[in-house]
């Protein structure tokens, strides 16, 4: 599994990448593998507000429905429209083409609650056992 070290992680298996002060959000390689074939992604509308550790949308695999938790609070600036027609991008490219939303953060302090790649790797290894 691939956990790049330029991004931060949640224990709910989302990631966030800080780009010019904005937060780009998606789900991790571990999450997409666990879910299996992703067939539907429901995202918030541009302009809506998301709250840290509250659901921002859902991702559905063939078998299951899972909430996506927002790693940070703020206003949604962009959503990945492509996922509506090609949800499998979350499987094939979880950190690049499979990104979900970009958020203008309200409080950068929230980032301190998130895990580094090293911490997340360890967390996932423990979860597997």
């Amino acid at each position: 599994m691939d956990f790049p070290d330029d991004i931060l992680y949640t224990k709910e298996h989302e990631w966030v990448r800080i780009e010019n002060g904005k937060a780009r959000i998606g789900i991790t390689d571990y999450a997409q593998k666990e879910l299996g074939d992703i067939v539907f992604v429901e995202l918030p509308e541009v302009g809506s507000e998301v709250t840290a550790m509250e659901p921002l949308g859902v991702v559905e695999s063939v078998k299951t429905v899972s909430d996506i938790y927002s790693p940070v609070s703020g206003k949604v600036l962009e959503i990945n429209d492509e996922l509506e027609s090609i949800p499998e991008l979350v499987n094939s490219s979880p950190y690049e083409k499979g990104w979900m939303i970009v958020v203008k953060m309200n409080d950068k302090e929230e980032l301190k609650e998130l895990l580094s790649a090293e911490m997340y790797t360890k967390y996932v290894e423990e979860e597997i056992q």
């Binding site: 074939d37 067939v39 539907f40 429901e42 859902v58 063939v62 078998k63 429905v65 509506e84």
Partner: protein, 373 residues
């Protein structure tokens, strides 16, 4: 103290070496998927796949009165079944609720095998034993033995248009002589087996029952099937394949509270064959009409129906989804569920409540997957 240990099939190690994702399915540790549900689904629809279904139960009913016992226990007419024939049926409680759905295999007029759902095997076996006295009284059943042989039998299903070509390579008889819903005893990879042309996918295919050499059969099918791009298929794709055909799944779509008439299984209930358990209630229901019916629907726009999502018609709740998925073949959300009979006709527009919002859906003719035609 400890959790009950999950049961494993003879193919457990084979699944592990194929890197299957395993799940607890009603107390059995079974493969959910290998390469992925969509990939496995497509393999079966386009060529061929194999399934380990050894968790299914097998019960042998034998003796001079075996036929009479079966006629009394199940709703279909066993007199229509010939030697080497299979028949789909349900077994009901006196109130018409379903004990299980099953396939009957007739070896002779005095020997039958029932293939039953894994989760129901023990319940079915006890139900049959518990009704022997009643059967003696009401159907003159005296000479019969009932054996649950599930622990000694493994079952592999091979499904898809290339199934016959692959299985033929390790079979000692000409499989083309086995017609739909018929079976033969033969050797598969030198192991004594029962091979029936049956399945749970809507494709042509076979189910192989064997006591010995199950791992050998599995490995040889994967090896011989390479030229047909054979894939091992887990319970995930087994579910999407059966749902595209609207084949009911016990526990989801049918249970002890639903009758076969409500479940759209009236075709396996034969009132003109003599007495059977549940007949009185079912006869009455067939005369007055069932108040709910199991229908298939497609989501018109977007969204995927899931079990227990409420179904509405003009804001009135008319039922509940029992199974739903994204149909890999149609690329749309499909589902089945019970709705009030007066709003159960094909073409009826309904709403499925998904996460608090209504999604438009339409009752459609089934199977959803019309396939090869």
């Amino acid at each position: 103290m400890g959790f009950p240990k999950l049961k494993r099939t003879s193919l457990y190690e084979a699944h592990k070496s194929l890197k299957a994702k395993m799940i607890n399915f009603n107390g059995w540790e079974m493969p959910l998927q290998y390469s992925g549900i969509l990939d496995e689904h497509r393999a079966v629809r386009s060529s061929v796949g194999i399934f380990d279904v050894s968790h299914m139960g097998e019960i042998i009913i034998k003796g001079r009165d075996a036929f009479n016992l079966l006629q009394f226990l199940i709703t279909n007419d066993v007199s229509k079944l010939k030697d080497n024939g299979c028949q789909y049926s349900v077994m009901c409680y006196p109130d018409g609720g379903i004990v299980d759905d099953l396939i009957i295999y007739r070896f002779s007029s005095e020997e039958f095998m029932l293939c039953v759902n894994a989760s129901n095997t023990e319940k079915d076996y006890q139900w049959i034993l518990g009704n022997l006295d009643t059967a003696k009284l009401k159907a003159s059943v005296t000479n019969v033995s009932v054996d649950n042989i599930s622990d000694t039998i493994s079952q592999i299903s091979i499904q898809g248009k290339s199934a016959e070509a692959v299985l033929q390579k390790i079979s000692d008889i000409d499989l083309s002589v086995i017609r739909h819903y018929c079976f033969k005893k033969c050797n598969i990879d030198s192991a004594e087996s029962i091979v029936s042309r049956t399945g749970y996918t809507g494709e042509d295919g076979f189910e192989i029952y064997s006591k010995d050499n199950v791992v050998g059969i599995w490995d040889r099918l994967l090896e011989k099937g390479k030229e047909y791009s054979i894939k091992p298929v887990g319970l995930g794709a087994r579910d999407t394949l059966r749902l595209e055909m609207k084949y009911p799944l016990y526990g989801n779509d049918i249970n002890e509270k639903t009758t076969p008439l409500e479940a759209d299984l009236g075709w396996v209930v034969k009132f003109d064959k003599g007495d059977f358990i549940g007949k009185d209630v079912l006869k009455k229901q067939s005369e007055t009409g069932a108040t709910q019916k199991l229908v298939g629907f497609e989501i018109i726009d977007k969204g995927i129906p899931r079990p227990h999502y409420p179904i509405f018609k003009e804001k009135e709740r008319i039922g509940e989804v029992t199974s739903g998925t994204l149909s890999p073949s149609l690329g749309r959300g499909i589902g089945i569920g019970y709705v009030k009979t007066e709003v159960s006709t094909v073409g009826e527009e309904i709403d499925i409540e998904i996460r608090g919002g209504y999604q438009k859906a339409k009752i459609v003719s089934t199977p959803f997957y019309k396939g090869r035609g």
